[in-house]
Amino acid sequence: MAKPISKKGSRKNVRIGSRKHTRKIPKGVIHVQASFNNTIVTVTDVRGRVISWSSAGTCGFKGTRRGTPFAAQTAAGNAIRTVSDQGMQRAEVMIKGPGLGRDAALRAIRRSGILLNFIRDVTPMPHNGCRSPKKRRV
């Protein structure tokens, strides 16, 4: 999900901040990926490095309950609580996918107190790509 950032200068694993102080990130991007069976919420900084993430599976939901709006709300709340404690105040929201968790996660983000710059739908849409699977016979 998060794009890799190319290393420049030395090839060492340079730590971004110092070890003793946790980094303060005032602005970020909240990515919501809502499929039919799960909802993943990832919070990154403006360069795309992941700060915290959560999903319906990590919140304890299993099976068909992972795709419910309540699971999406819980996942969004868990992901945002960490970054709210770290001091994030403003974010942009990117929503991807057709699942039920879109609106629930958006409402949870709105109610968490983080100010939103804009909300954007980034669902990928193939320009006539490969053939889809055959229809399911239920």
């Binding site: 958006l106 709105r110 804009f118 954007r120 739908d121 849409m125 889809s132 055959k134």
Partner: protein, 119 residues
């Protein structure tokens, strides 16, 4: 101060291969003001996404469709479009009726009170 929940287009690379698709996707961005209430953020965003047709396209591309399914889908889409057009015509007719009622207020049946030169 941020503008209050208006639609803008974000900066994009100038050479875009599918400009029509890009233009459609620009409608899926909602710029949020400072202290917007919750409904004024979520409802316009939902409306814009529905207008762009992203969710219907996602659900269509989940499974491949054969020839008959494609014919059915296009017929359904055309039916919906014609319903929308019919609603538009009804609106036009109602506007025409308003104009007719406005015209009826003018009453100019009385003859002008001037001397007719041939009497």
């Amino acid at each position: 101060m941020q503008p209050a929940a208006t639609l803008t287009s974000l900066p994009r690379p100038p050479s875009s291969p599918s400009r029509q698709r890009e233009r459609e996707r620009e409608r899926e961005v909602i710029v949020v003001g400072e202290d917007e209430p919750e409904d004024r953020i979520i409802n316009p965003f939902k409306k814009e996404v529905l207008k762009a047709g992203v969710l219907q396209e996602c659900k269509r591309r989940r499974f491949s469709e054969n020839k008959d399914d494609k014919i059915k889908r296009k017929a359904r889409k055309a039916s919906r479009r014609n319903q929308k057009r019919a609603w538009g015509q009804n609106k036009h007719d109602s506007e025409k009726k308003k104009k007719d009622v406005a015209d009826d207020d003018i009453d100019d049946w009385e003859l002008p009170h001037v001397g007719i030169p041939y009497t």
